[in-house]
């Protein structure tokens, strides 16, 4: 606050504070909420803008004049086929039910990750810290590798597999149409604020597939009397209904919303408590039980309920999480909206663990090693695969048809301008 009171920094500080609060890109000349810059809520978070001067050009827009002259929706498909004079966008994308994918999520959705080599003496080097500025500028999140909107090859172990990449593979007209509207600490209590940074126009844009995935913060907090601060089922219902009402006024007709339930965080203690934390690996002196207890003592634990040695408290936390998931399930069944349909599915943590164990892995390898709390890169990737298969099996219309011109698009437009 001292620095920001200096006259020449005041404006800049105000802009940064506003953008951090609003979860909008720092660099966005035309104000269309899409950016040419990767971090600071840029294209690591939502599809890269292909013209940051014209506010009418951005990913997800319905093409203007079939993009005969320019790529108005940044999907890399534009121009006219000289053989028949038909615009490529018309030829390849018309009637293919192309759509964008949008995540309303928490730190798990944004893919919170602290590289273990930052805290492990034997692995430290200049190279290990080379990604530190980028990670800071992304709030220690890595949405570019995440399970819903990931699009870059993972550089933090594991691999990238995401619903966006699946959707893009199904229909290349969806290229760059993703938004990761997530934040660390995201929950049903602050989703209404968060959803306001979502960029979609009923008038000009394509429909979207929105995933509401807040997997823990409604039962997770750092208070010693943690249960008292958990969201109650009726409050959850009210919060999510308000967000859905808002979405109904924002999303184009033909959109879809998927609500996912909360995770069962007993997985954390069960699989980690007696293992060594990266800080304790050298001298075998700090286990996750110690680490959890230290954070809880400081009232800085992200989740006292599940990061606790008290089995009764862990069970109570899971019980509340189950009640909140049931509220979402009920809501998906009972509520109808004009511009989208609503579905519910459980957060597939159990299925992820089973899939990983079948391939020879162990459950603890699915948890972020430094914070001992979040799903890691492997869990995110496997989660995406499981969710994709479930949607394909149960609600295939949500994903749109497979584009028959897929190979032709690749042949003509190659990587479609990349990401």
């Amino acid at each position: 606050s001292g620095v920001c009171s200096l006259p020449f920094l005041k404006q800049l500080c105000e802009k940064i504070q506003l953008l951090i609060r609003c979860k909008l890109p720092f660099e966005d000349l035309d104000g269309d909420k899409f950016s040419l810059y990767p971090t600071l809520r840029g294209y690591h978070w939502r599809g890269r803008d292909c013209d940051d001067v014209q506010a009418s050009v951005y990913p997800g827009r319905r093409p203007h004049n079939w993009d005969a002259d320019k790529d108005s929706n940044c999907n890399g498909i534009w121009g006219v086929d000289p053989k028949d004079g038909i615009a490529y966008e018309q030829k390849f994308c018309k009637g293919t039910e192309s759509k964008g994918i949008i995540l309303l999520g928490d730190s798990a959705g944004a893919h919170f990750h602290i590289p273990p080599e930052w805290v492990t003496a034997s692995q430290m080097s200049v190279k290990a810290f080379s990604n530190l500025p980028e990670a800071f500028a992304n709030e220690l999140d890595w949405p570019q590798f995440s399970g819903v909107t990931g699009f870059l090859n993972a550089t933090i172990g594991g691999w990238t597999e995401s619903l966006y990449l699946y959707l893009r593979k199904r229909n290349r007209c969806n290229h760059r149409d993703y938004q990761n509207i997530s934040k660390n600490g995201g929950s049903s209590n602050n989703v209404l604020e968060l959803v306001k940074s979502l960029a979609r126009s009923q008038q000009f844009d394509k429909p979207a597939f929105v995933i509401f995935s807040m997997i823990g913060n409604d039962v997770c907090n750092g208070y010693p009397d943690t249960v008292e601060h958990m969201t109650r089922p009726e409050q959850m219902r009210t919060n999510v209904m308000q967000a859905l009402q808002y979405l109904n006024g924002l999303l184009p007709k033909g959109s879809h919303v998927l609500l996912t339930g909360l995770a069962d965080g007993r997985f954390l203690w069960d699989n980690l408590h007696d293992r060594f934390h990266p800080l304790g690996q050298l001298n075998k002196d700090v286990t996750y039980e110690h680490f959890y207890s230290f954070l809880s003592c400081l009232q800085s634990a992200p989740c006292v309920g599940w990061m606790s040695a008290n089995a009764t408290l862990r069970n109570l936390t899971s019980e509340r999480a189950l009640q909140l998931s049931s509220a979402l399930k009920e809501l998906a069944k009972s509520e109808k909206y004009a511009n989208f349909d609503v579905f519910y599915m459980d957060y597939p943590l159990k299925e992820v663990a089973e899939m990983w164990q079948k391939s020879g892995g162990e459950a603890w390898q699915l948890i972020e090693p430094v914070d001992g709390f979040h799903p890691n890169q492997v869990a995110s990737a496997l989660g995406a695969r499981i969710i994709w298969k479930k949607i394909l099996r149960e609600w295939p219309h949500v994903l749109g048809k497979e584009n028959p011109s897929k190979d032709e698009i690749i042949a003509v437009f190659k990587d479609q301008g990349g990401h």
């Binding site: 430290m124 500025p133 800080l279 110690h290 230290f294 400081l298 800085s300």
Partner: protein, 120 residues
């Protein structure tokens, strides 16, 4: 906030201690090594060097006297015990116990350091 200062301190002191152990070096060299790893971008390396100038000598002295990171961070005031609350600690208690270890450490570090911490 205060809690995050405490977590950050315990983390950094642990790393200095372990870097010295892994590279069989002094704690001073370990601290210099840690700063050298950080990128110059966003003044991260500069900030590390500045913090090392302020806290380094005291942290090194305490580590050399076999004080663990919890004790070091309580001694230099970055971790604080609230009245009626237990000491928050990451590492198992030392043989002499936290109270004695912290009192002894506090004697070792000059009052000037606390002023520096407060000012920072």
């Amino acid at each position: 906030n205060k809690q995050h200062s405490c977590i950050g301190c315990v983390l950094v002191v642990s790393i200095i201690e372990q870097l010295a152990q892994v590279h069989n070096s002094t704690e001073k060299e370990a601290l210099e090594r840690l700063c050298s790893y950080l990128p110059a971008k966003l003044h991260l390396q500069g900030a590390c060097i500045l913090i090392a100038e302020i806290f380094g000598p005291h942290i090194i002295e305490l580590i050399e006297h076999k004080m663990n990171p919890d004790v070091v961070c309580h001694s230099i005031g970055l971790c604080k015990r609230k009245a009626g609350q237990p000491f928050c600690h990451l590492y198992p208690p030392t043989k002499m116990g936290f109270n004695v270890a912290i009192k002894e450490s506090e004697r070792m570090v000059a009052n000037q350091l606390k002023e520096n911490v407060h000012r920072l």
